[in-house]
């Protein structure tokens, strides 16, 4: 049960007893088959995969909500797999993952747009690179790839610059709701019996007979096996037990979200290939009908925060306009930044561990006895989240000596009710059930009070958590009109003060 600072009515509301957020009074030794550290996309999907077996699983997350780290900001692009090197784990996972992505979204009630992608270039080097990717794609077994002439690109995407030289279409690409995927895996895993300890930070891990002792700021957990999905902190977690092997260096990428007037500006995910073979901007027609531009600029950072840079934003707009000349910066409704973990192999020099080469071509997954660590999973991590979860579950199964199949596991997570996009008849029926569905709180995205309460009951405990679950404050006004009311509902539901809710608006 949730235990807030001002413990109130919320405990009853969370009723299932599966979502745990223990307070200091609950200090006790909990024993699990598997402890997953981190409840981002990988942690939630690992938990979900493990629910296919009979085992006790807990997920330990230091933040207020799931998917609040690396998973909270990305382009949500599903890569078909022509971009990854043949023979690598990335290739082995990405190609089938992209093929099965629509079915996965269907199963988990997640919005998905199978819009396909087009990669374009403006010069000979770019063309050579795209042609190599075409061959690479074929080698990887990517289906439905097609080279396009400049005219073909322009007929599919009229807003692309006439200077485009050629391109390549890939059918098995698309884009999903970036937050809903992890949230759906969390809800599905929790419903199947995985326990989530939110606001609980792992401070130390010790080897014990037959497993590990995880000391957190709230309790001590004993687990026979650990899956380390700690994102930006996965190296630190691993080094609580083992000598350094891969360390994470963070970088950030800037993003611009354009308002609804940009709907239809591009019809496919657009990638750009530069003459220096560096990745250019990515343009994504989001599932919500916005346009998202991911910048090309990589800004190395020291900390773990997402920090926008002036250079990054400038570069994003400039390169964006080169390929999409009609792009209008005044249509931007929000600039934000995402943080990425770059995995670097380390070697010992004079008794110190220094970073050597970056692990680019394959995922950095480290297997130690009883512990699997995902250290620095980035693109195409979103596409491969489920497959990586399966891989971790297989590892745990092996370590634990073969688990029994859980025949009762139901992989279906019903999609949350969304008033926006409903017919008046459907909406009317819903309002009869609960008048809360008639009270519109967020006018831009048409989100009702009932949807906000549903999101809170499903685990949202911050304004950001509500935003990601029901899209409040994601429209034109960016929350000016709905934040006060949303905060009030959250305060009421969780027994916190308005100030506390506003202060703790992030994860």
């Amino acid at each position: 049960m949730i235990n807030w600072k001002n413990n109130g009515s919320v405990s009853e509301k969370f009723g299932t007893g599966r979502l745990k957020c223990t307070g200091p009074e609950h200090i006790m030794a909990n024993t699990y088959d598997v402890a997953i550290i981190g409840a981002g996309l990988l942690g939630t999907f690992t938990a979900r995969s493990l629910m296919r077996c009979r085992c006790n699983v807990c997920v330990i997350e230091k933040q207020f909500d799931v998917c609040g780290g690396i998973s909270k900001a990305n382009s949500a692009v599903v890569y078909s797999g022509y971009d990854v090197y043949p023979g690598t784990l990335k290739a082995a996972l990405c190609v089938p993952a992209a093929e099965e992505f629509p079915a996965l979204c269907e199963e988990l009630g997640v919005s998905y747009s199978r819009c396909g992608s087009i990669i374009v270039c403006s010069g000979p080097e770019g063309e050579a690179s795209i042609r190599e990717k075409y061959v690479q794609g074929l080698e990887n077994g990517v289906k439905a790839l097609k080279l396009l002439t400049s005219d073909e690109v322009r007929s599919l995407e009229p807003n692309i610059s006439p200077s485009v030289r050629m391109g390549m279409y890939s059918e098995n690409s698309g884009t999903a709701d970036p937050w809903e995927l992890g949230i759906a895996a969390f809800e599905n895993a929790r419903a199947a019996g995985a326990e989530f300890f939110l606001r609980t930070e792992v401070l130390d891990i010790r080897q014990r007979d037959g497993g590990f002792e995880l000391i957190t700021d709230k309790n001590t957990i004993f687990a026979r096996c650990i899956i380390n999905c700690a994102g930006l902190f996965a190296d630190k977690i691993r080094e609580m037990l083992f000598a350094p092997k891969v360390r994470i260096m963070t970088s950030t990428t800037d993003y611009a979200v354009f308002g609804r007037s940009s709907r239809g500006f591009v019809n496919h995910v657009i990638f750009t290939e530069h003459e220096d073979r560096k990745k250019g901007i990515t343009a994504v027609p989001t599932v919500d009908g916005n346009l998202l531009i991911e910048g090309p600029y990589k800004n190395k950072t020291k900390g773990h925060e997402s920090i926008c840079t002036a250079e990054g934003i400038r570069e994003l707009l400039q390169q964006g306009r080169e390929i999409l000349p009609g792009l209008d910066g005044s249509d931007v409704i929000r600039y934000f930044s995402a943080v990425r973990p770059g995995p670097y192999y380390t070697e010992e020099k004079d008794g110190r561990f220094v970073r050597s080469r970056e692990s680019i071509n394959s995922f950095a997954i480290l297997k130690d006895t009883g512990v699997l660590s995902f250290v620095g999973i980035k693109t195409p991590g979103f596409t491969c989240a489920k497959r990586l979860g399966d891989l971790a579950a297989d590892f745990a199964n092996e370590q634990l000596g073969g688990l029994q199949i859980n025949k009762d596991f139901d992989p279906v997570r019903p999609a949350p009710v969304r008033v926006s996009g409903m017919t008046p008849e459907e909406h009317e029926a819903l309002v009869k059930e609960d008048p809360g569905y008639g009270k519109i709180v967020c006018r831009c995205e048409m989100v009702t009070e009932a949807e906000i309460r549903n999101a809170i009951h499903a685990g949202a405990s911050t304004l950001d958590g509500i935003k990601r679950r029901c899209h409040t404050s994601m429209g034109q006004c960016q929350g000016d009109f709905c934040t006060a009311r949303t905060a009030e509902i959250l305060a009421e539901e969780t027994g916190r003060s308005l100030e506390q809710v506003l202060e703790e608006c992030h994860d």
């Binding site: 934003i313 707009l317 931007v332 809360g436 008639g438 009270k439 048409m446 960016q478 006060a484 100030e499």
Partner: protein, 303 residues
């Protein structure tokens, strides 16, 4: 489906005045729909004085001005609160969304009096983190004045339009520290009386020819970088709250789908700040009364 002669979107100063103006001209069927719980738009959250000087000859607070305005409201006007208008179509129908569910309404004349929204801070290319503690002036005013929320201690205000000045003064009144008002133009903006009353009287520093180009801290704001536009100098100012008053944008999106070849239908009008941003509410009311009268004239002809 319900039907009315005149549908007004928004029950703020503009919408109420439109209704009063149309009713005075003999229009009997008037529906006003508004998403908020109480009529008045932003008037209830404007606790400062400065309303009504030109219309009533005395300075009132927002709620006092609203009370005066409501005295003129004829009782036959159908005021539907907690009701959002959407799906306005060229066949002169719209959908009213309320706790009773969606309901179609047909009308003969439509006035959009939905006010304006503020330009949002992160829609400009600002560097740094996206921490808690950054609020638009309108949202801050709503939280402080209507919800009694305590939102911060050391406050930087970006933008010296009237709403920026009013909020700076309000924080001073509440015993908070308005660290500075930042203005990109050469001179402080807003009405002279607001400059005097809220800024000069409280000795709040005003930094002109400057902007905030980076925010710091996560999860909570710890400070902002102020960039001086004349010499490019950048300076860090510690604060826990940033109030942004970047300017107002008339709310016209509701009727965006009604235009054909750039032309609006003749049964559609905008009033108040949805039309253009007014300096004072008295001007909004005067324009609203006129728009109401024009609606009545149209309705008399269109039979």
């Amino acid at each position: 489906m319900i039907s009315t002669e005149l549908l007004i979107v928004g029950a703020g100063a503009a919408g109420l005045s439109c209704a009063i103006g149309a009713a005075r001209e003999g229009i009997s069927e008037i529906v006003i729909a508004d998403a908020l719980t109480c009529p008045g738009g932003i008037l209830p959250q404007c606790l400062h004085r400065g309303f009504g000087l030109s219309m009533y000859g005395r300075e009132m607070t927002g709620p006092e001005f609203l009370a005066e305005l409501l005295k003129d409201m004829p009782s036959h006007i159908d005021l539907q609160m907690e009701t959002m208008v959407n799906g306005i179509s060229r066949d002169r129908t719209a959908v009213l969304y309320s706790k009773n569910g969606p309901e179609k309404i047909s009308f003969r004349y439509l006035i959009i009096a939905a006010g304006c929204r503020e330009k949002s801070f992160y829609s400009i290319p600002v560097a740094g983190t996206r921490p808690a503690g950054v609020l638009s002036a309108g949202l801050a005013q709503q939280l402080v004045n209507l919800k009694n929320a305590d939102i911060g201690e050391r406050i930087v205000i970006l933008g010296s339009g009237d709403i920026g000045l009013v909020m700076a003064g309000r924080f001073a009144e509440l015993g908070k520290t308005p660290v500075a008002v930042i203005e990109q133009k050469e001179k402080m903006g807003g009405l002279a009386r607001n400059q005097h009353r809220y800024i000069e009287a409280n000795h709040i520093p005003v930094i002109t020819k400057a902007t905030v180009d980076e925010v710091h801290g996560y999860p909570h704001l710890t400070g902002v970088t102020v960039k001086h536009l004349d010499d490019g100098r950048r300076e860090f100012i510690p604060c826990d709250t940033l109030i942004t008053a970047l300017g107002l944008i008339p709310e016209k999106t509701l009727a965006a789908g009604l235009y054909e070849n750039g032309c609006a239908p003749d049964w559609l009008a905008y009033s108040g700040n949805s039309d253009f941003v007014h300096e004072i509410v008295d001007g909004v009311v005067r324009d609203g009364l006129k728009a109401g009268k024009e609606a009545a004239e149209y309705l008399r002809k269109d039979v």
